[in-house]
């Protein structure tokens, strides 16, 4: 298949990787904060409008050429052609799994009588992740234009944008954008005279991380508890309301818009090319949003080519580790992906980079930076608490595993840990998840990776902590009682 053949020579590839954004936008959009950076040829596209006055309004969006791509696509391209273009671009989903978008779309049944549904995943609840929020707050029409083009391609007549409850401004701005777009004829019946009709609705979450898992999201829209479904059948075959459904992330649909606007060659000129020796590697092409938070000088949402190094993101974009301290660990792509050490930060941030240093993957591309003073015991406690709280409880290994892990971390943190606990934690980490084949969804894998990476990469720190805080009992191998509830803060 031609789509998997790398078209970019290695020298060119290096140049692409170097073309990091000089215009990454700081949270408060103070360009002054970034003016010390050399100007690089990479031009922001996903964040191009962010920071402009009233960037969330239709008027501002139209002024920057908005909706001209939709107009062109509806006039000049058939839905099949759009799918082909997205397929040829090798665009991979930005929601965490990196599944090729064109391939996902091609799983929809041919000539289905409909309706086909499209869901935009804006649940964004992975700790450390906030880039979809920036997109929806500052450029909701870009998200909407991408959604409309994606629906046209997939033949969807109705789209739901699932926004987490904690994003009230996104909700307001996306709703206003929908209203404006509909009044201007970009939504509704017979869009721009093309014969294509589409309704877009917002659906509001209620504070559950698992609603971001695509079938949990579907169940939640259907008005039920967000229990992920056993796959197959995959949503493309039987999804929302038992109809063929596509679920894509906010950033993914925004990329679709830019691919249709600028072309496949442009998209493939950015990022890490596919490995020519691995026919199954679709490469890591295109621009990516990187959220950086934690112990850095300039936390924020930045745009850069996929494949930029973790070091460059931290040092050049986020202004380095705060307070002049040394780096200890980085969560490369949202908490689920695990941690990398200070020695591993030259890792390229593309779909394969974090894998090579033992992490789950690129995840959401959002980094959490931890300095030398932060305890890895605190890190793991925080992580285990999150996943225990968010497990939906359907699968025993996940429900029990995440809770046992949390109980052990609580006990370790409180000075009652045993060395043996580290091995028990690793046993949990190695056995829960889709990869070991014991759970329905990937939440358990996400819970496992921080455990596996933190303990394997920082074992000495854990052992020291346990030995120092539990002088009398660290070597105990017999079962010990759990911590009484009163000893637990929150």
């Amino acid at each position: 298949m031609t789509v998997y053949i790398a078209a970019i020579p290695a020298r060119r590839r290096e140049r692409c990787l170097l073309r990091a954004s000089g215009e990454g936008i700081a949270r408060r959009f103070r360009s002054a904060a970034l003016s010390g950076l050399p100007t690089m040829p990479y031009q922001n596209v996903l964040l191009a409008n962010v920071g402009k006055p009233n960037s969330h309004t239709l008027a501002a969006y139209l002024a920057s050429g908005g909706y001209s791509t939709l107009r062109k696509v509806l006039k000049e391209k058939s839905p099949q052609e759009v799918v082909e273009i997205v397929r040829a671009s090798n665009l991979r989903g930005r929601g965490g799994a990196g599944f090729p978008t064109g391939l996902k779309w091609s799983f929809l049944p041919d000539k289905h009588p409909g309706p086909i549904y499209f869901c935009v995943n804006a649940d964004e609840s992975e700790p450390g992740t906030f880039v979809n929020r920036v997109q929806m707050e500052h450029d909701p029409h870009q998200v909407l234009e991408g959604t409309i083009i994606s629906c046209y391609a997939t033949g969807a007549s109705r789209a739901y944008i699932y926004i987490r409850y904690e994003y009230p401004l996104c909700w307001k701005r996306m709703q206003a954008a929908i209203d404006e777009a509909r009044a201007a004829g970009y939504l509704g019946r017979n869009i721009l005279g093309s014969g294509f009709s589409l309704e877009v609705y917002l659906h509001r979450g209620a504070g559950a991380y698992i609603c971001g898992e695509e079938t949990g999201l579907i169940e939640s829209i259907e008005g039920r508890r967000a229990w992920p479904r056993i796959k197959p059948p995959f949503p493309a075959v039987e999804g929302l309301f038992r109809k063929p459904t596509v679920v894509n992330n906010v950033e993914t649909v925004a990329c679709v818009k830019h691919i249709l606007e600028r072309g496949v060659a442009w998209f493939k000129s950015i990022g890490t090319p596919a490995d020519p020796n691995d026919p199954r590697d679709p490469g890591s092409y295109g621009p990516k949003l990187f959220g950086i938070s934690g112990h850095v000088n300039r936390p924020g949402c930045y745009e850069a080519p996929l494949g930029i190094s973790c070091r460059e993101l931290i040092e050049r974009f986020a202004g380095g580790v705060w307070k002049g301290r040394k780096l200890k660990a980085v969560v490369p792509g949202g908490l689920s992906t695990g941690v990398i050490t200070a020695e591993e930060i030259d890792t390229p941030m593309d779909f394969s980079g974090p894998l090579r240093v033992g992490c789950l993957g690129l995840g959401t591309g959002c980094l959490i930076v931890l300095d030398e003073t932060y305890s890895m015991v605190d890190f793991l406690y925080n992580s285990c608490r999150f996943f225990a709280h968010e497990s939906c409880g359907q699968c025993t290994p996940c429900r029990e595993g995440t809770h046992w892990a949390l109980q052990m971390l609580r006990r370790i943190k409180a000075g009652r840990g045993r060395i043996k606990d580290l091995d028990l934690l690793l046993e949990i980490g190695d056995t829960i998840g889709i990869l070991p084949g014991t759970t329905i969804c990937g939440l358990a894998d996400g819970a496992a990776w921080p455990i596996k990476t933190a303990i394997r990469k920082f074992r000495q720190e854990f052992e020291d902590y346990i030995k120092h805080t539990n002088v009398a009992g660290w070597m105990e191998t017999q079962p010990v009682p759990a911590l009484e509830q009163s000893a637990v803060a929150h």
Partner: protein, 165 residues
């Protein structure tokens, strides 16, 4: 249904009915409807569940099943006028959220999950709010507060108290 003791206001019912065309099934209306009810009542008591069931033509259990999954909806008593979600996930914790949360607990005189006796504040320890670039961060009703410090928190609590009462 006896109108005299009906909990759901005409306005709430109208807002829920407006959602019907957005979804092909009535079950799918449940979650947005719960949000609307929660907006009106500050919680979703069992009677409201029954009234919603009648409105949607579903069994109360079908609604209760959904409701009980989302920790967001409380059933026993109205939540405070200001509901605070204070993030203690990693990015915020790394920047001091745990200590700030303790400080907030002390200021309000309640633990996470509780409501102040005057019904003004409900405090929740929240997982990542997607505001990590502004850590430590919290959400109070629909308002976002970022880059929190003790001083900032004290001011925020004070101004919330005066505007909400």
């Amino acid at each position: 249904m006896c109108t005299a003791s009906r909990l759901l206001s005409d306005q709430t019912i109208a807002a829920i009915e407006e959602l019907f065309p957005c979804y092909p099934t009535r079950q799918a209306v449940v979650l947005p409807a719960l949000h609307i009810i929660n907006q009106q009542l500050g919680h979703v008591p069992p009677q409201a569940v029954e009234e919603l069931a009648t409105l949607l033509g579903l069994a109360p259990a079908q609604i209760q099943d959904t409701l009980s999954f989302y920790g967001f909806f409380k059933q026993d008593k109205p939540q405070g006028k200001v509901r605070i979600w204070f993030c203690h996930s990693l990015s915020c914790a790394a920047r001091g959220a745990e200590e700030l949360l303790e400080h907030l607990c002390a200021t309000l005189g309640i633990r996470p999950g509780q409501t102040t006796p005057d019904g003004m504040f409900t405090l929740e320890a929240a997982e990542c709010l997607g505001l990590c670039d502004g850590a430590p961060a919290m959400l109070a009703n629909d308002t976002v507060y970022t880059d929190l410090t003790r001083e900032k928190l004290d001011q925020i609590v004070q101004s919330l108290r005066s505007t909400a009462s």
